[in-house]
Amino acid sequence: MNGFIALYIFMTAAFAGYEIITRVPVILHTPLMSGSNFVHGIVLVGTMIALAEARGPLEVSIGFVGVAMAASNVVGGFAVTERMLEMFKSKKNE
């Protein structure tokens, strides 16, 4: 990937992230923080790739720890967010 293309992606995604939550009610602050915590769990993909390509005990150990940590981020983040948001289901709003 060309460095400048990466910069363009970075800039566009940053604007997208900003726009997405400009109008969020206070009651959703905590669930949304938890939800965005889950979304950065995408790091799991990167740790899996790193572990897949790791060579030698040191790299493999670090890679293993990385995958385990990322999996906690994803799974825990999902479980907690889902529980928080479950409370908003089937309730009429406005």
Binding site: Y18, G46, M87
Partner: protein, 477 residues
């Protein structure tokens, strides 16, 4: 990267962003996490289907496949991290969720840092232009600092650690950070004696360790009440770290999702701080909470206490009640009982509404989540701005385990540490009933003159028990 893998990553990224978008509106919030979850599954499938990076011309390893034992090892690692997280995530009490968010969040930062560490130790990061080791080092720094800091946030919210303020900490943290930055710079160049006279693998190791300590120390002096803002800050930082490491291994899904979280998380941090009437700079660099011994002025009067039965009778014969819940409700897990009582009052024709202060409880939005869990419909729940004008018309304001958010000193007393914070004007109601566990002061350590007001009557006791007694008396009335 094959076309199928590209398509999977693309779909995954779209789902993650749409999921986040849906989570920012109450109506679609629940479907949002499911969309994001589906996106995550697709991304993991894509990674499994094609585990080598799309490094293009920079990759020394392009095209190398992954052996079966290694795939097995990855699956074991996912189970090692995922199973306990699932278990704790499902079991933990609603009141303890903030610290769980903190810990899962921090682990994500640590994970981002490990990617950078593997890339640096293995030498992959040095095989392309200088931008790669620079970005890898930056990602490790941000991810590890956020990991150390989130860990402190977890320990504090869990109540396993208090606020620690070491004399001269600002200078010490500054020195520590300078040392870490020097080690980081040294880790960028893979020359054989190393820039600062130690092998590069050593400087990487010390760099990671130092970053962790910096994050840990920087978070130590921040009080528990400010933790939501701190964790939200780290959440945004970790998004950024993920994006940086995504660049290093050339994974667009990580770059985009990480950046979106970084931007959304930064904005969310400011929104949260504003809702708590703090500024982000204040939270990070001031010593709020030091003035625990804030003057107890004009508290010569005594509190009037009332039995739950009598309080129930007052409510049963009033027309308009506004309930202001706080952390005490969450601790006592009394939200279901409270809703039961409210329904009984409604059957008697009493108008009951809930007034939610943005920071009632331990996290912004905490009370809304709790009431929603008990089944309270949205149309009974009002924000501070929506309902504050109505207190003057209310017969009864029922305060349950809330303190600082209803303290009139925030309006009047300039010397009070909470001066200027918007509060619920419960003191304007014709009568104020307060359910409170004991006579102590609130989270900020400030005495509350509301409790001594002639118009206020205190019902002492655990919220769950008090409300249960109220329900019994309501049945008899």
């Amino acid at each position: 990267m094959s076309l199928a893998t590209e398509a999977l990553y693309f779909a995954a990224t779209v789902l993650l962003i749409l999921g986040l978008k849906r989570m920012s509106s109450p109506r679609s919030a629940r479907s949002g996490i499911l969309w994001a979850g589906a996106g995550m599954v697709l991304a993991v499938i894509a990674a499994f289907a094609f585990s080598t990076r799309g490094y293009g011309m920079y990759s020394p390893l392009a095209g190398v496949g992954v052996s079966w034992p290694r795939l097995g090892l990855i699956a074991v690692a996912v189970a090692v991290g995922g199973v306990p997280a699932w278990w704790t995530g499902r079991k933990v009490a609603i009141t303890d969720m903030p610290q769980m968010v903190a810990i899962y969040n921090g682990l994500g930062g640590g994970a981002a840092a490990t990617i950078g560490a593997v890339e640096l130790y293995s030498g992959h990061a040095y095989s392309g232009p200088l931008a790669f080791p620079v970005i890898a080092v930056l990602g490790v720094l941000v991810g590890t600092v956020a990991f150390g800091g989130s860990l402190v946030g977890f320990l504090k919210l869990q109540g396993w650690m208090g606020t620690v303020r070491i004399a001269g900490r600002h200078a010490m943290n500054g020195l520590m950070l300078a040392a870490v930055l020097a080690l980081g710079v040294a880790s960028i160049f893979r020359s054989s004696p190393g820039v600062i006279g130690m092998p590069v693998s050593w400087s990487i190791s010390f760099f990671v360790l130092g970053s962790f300590i910096v994050g840990f120390l920087a978070t130590l002096p921040i009080g528990g009440a400010d933790m939501p803002v701190v964790i939200s800050t780290y959440n945004a930082c970790i998004g950024l770290a993920v994006a940086l490491e995504g660049f290093v291994i050339q994974n667009p899904a990580m770059i985009i999702a990480g950046t979106v979280v970084g931007a959304a998380g930064s904005l969310l941090t400011f929104l949260m701080a504003r809702a708590m009437n703090r500024t982000v700079r204040h939270v990070w660099f001031s010593d709020f909470g030091d003035q625990k011994a804030a003057a107890a002025v004009g508290l010569a009067q005594t509190m009037k206490s009332l039995e739950p039965q009598d309080a129930a009778a007052i409510m049963a014969y009033s027309d308009d009640i506004i309930i202001a819940p706080g952390y005490g409700l969450a601790v006592a897990q009394a939200q279901h009982k409270l809703w039961e009582m409210v329904q009984m009052l409604q059957k008697r024709g009493v108008k009951v509404r809930f007034a939610i202060h943005p920071v009632a409880g331990r996290m912004p939005g905490h009370m809304s989540v709790l009431l929603a869990e008990a089944g309270v419909p949205y149309d009974l729940i009002y924000d501070l701005e929506e309902i504050n004008g109505d207190f003057a018309n209310a017969d009864v304001a029922l305060v349950i385990g809330a303190n600082d958010v209803v303290n009139p000193a925030a309006r009047t007393d300039k010397s009070s540490p909470i001066y200027g914070m918007p509060i619920l004007n419960v003191d304007q109601a014709k009568q104020v009933l307060v359910i409170k566990r004991g006579k102590g002061s609130g989270f900020s350590g400030v005495e509350n003159e509301l409790f001594f007001d002639p118009n206020t009557q205190m019902v002492f006791g655990d919220a769950q028990r008090v409300i249960t007694k109220m329900i019994q008396s309501l049945k008899e009335i």
